[in-house]
Symmetry: C2
DNA sequence: GAATTCCTTTGACAATTATCAAAAAAACAC
DNA sequence: GTGTTTTTTTGATAATTGTCAAAGGAATTC
């Protein structure tokens, strides 16, 4: 269900969030708004499917998303996107290739779409938009780096404890299996870790 | 040994490389050049030390660098930067915090420094520079993502084989220990993997 | 509320990798 | 070359995690 140009208040709030990431003039907000769209999702809906090319950066206005993919027939969680956070398939978005990742709504959600085409056009001529993208990418890079270090150098137990500390609510939102694959371990191993704590 | 504004030809070539990443007018090149510096390093020299804040993006004009850190007293390789590639400490650079990472020259090297201060100034007022940074960050993000997936979902043997395929020359440039920690395994495990192949 | 389905835990065992120690090989210095 | 140091390999053992199978719980449906 696409509802373009309808929920103006939602867009206004979103543009304010963008503005807090990197300052935007009213004019920049106006041109950016042209490239926004809005979608509501029911629990279980897919925002991006395997094989589709990722043509947007997604902002979770409400709800909760899971980004996952299939590896040897098993579904592996790559990331969770909480309310007021962004997500997208990095590789598909930049390389314009079919996505291996699937983005699933695990609660009823509201998502704002930022179109790649729009952003690519705007960043070429609008300095504020270009700087907004720089802020966005540098934060994404730091997050990616952090996750990499966690996977490479912490034990499964430590990673689980960190997750509990940083996102305690996650336990009630997603299955143990999803948390386990997100941590890079099997469901059984996570179950045993929990038994120890 | 810093040699600013001396090796003009080297800078010209470097600016051409930047231009090939994202187009730069002669004027943009001119202003960018003001924020470049140059340094030669002997084998074993440190480009960035633990506790120092990373104030530059480095470009390996010649030679070979290793980025590593200490974890429980052991030195762990995070990345290798080959000739004509960039490197920097992501966290230290963006957060302006002391670096955990150490960047070491493992061959006699020539490195071009792109100053963070200069880039931060320029990107605010120069659209071409802002777009250059966007290209740079998006490629960094893709690389970080790729490495993360490799660590999380491939066996040590597979990772070693991929490394051999992608950078066969690396075997002759760095010790087995450094390759092992880069792959996220111990030296002994890597030695045993090699014996199998 | 009984049946079905899905999620989580537990058990037994195998595979992978780490750790500690020592030997072998290679590189380096004199 | 000889001796010294560093790097790599090998051995024995332990720890961690994965795999396969089954049981126990919880949630859902009819």
């Amino acid at each position: 269900m696409y509802l373009n140009h309808i929920n103006n208040l939602v867009f206004k709030e979103f543009l304010d969030i963008l503005n807090s990431i990197s300052p935007l003039s009213p004019e920049s907000k106006r041109v950016l708004q042209k490239h926004l769209s809005f979608r509501t999702l029911s629990k279980g809906d897919y925002l991006l499917n395997h094989g589709e090319t990722c043509r947007h950066i997604y902002f979770v206005n409400k709800g909760f998303l899971r980004i996952f993919y299939y590896k040897n027939g098993k579904n592996i969680t790559e990331w969770f996107a909480r309310e007021k956070n962004f997500c997208f398939s990095i590789t598909s978005y930049f390389n314009k290739t079919p996505s291996d990742l699937i983005i699933e709504s695990i609660e009823d959600s509201e998502v704002i779409f930022l179109s790649r085409k729009g952003l690519e056009e705007l960043r070429k001529c609008n300095l504020e938009v270009a700087n907004l993208i720089i802020e966005f990418l540098s934060h994404s890079l730091i997050a990616s780096q952090k996750r990499m270090e966690s996977i490479q150098f912490e034990t499964a137990k430590k990673r689980y404890q960190n997750l509990l500390k940083e996102q305690p609510e996650i336990i009630h939102q997603v299955s143990l299996h999803n948390i386990a694959t997100f941590l890079g371990i099997t469901q059984e191993t996570l179950s045993r870790i929990r038994a120890q704590i």
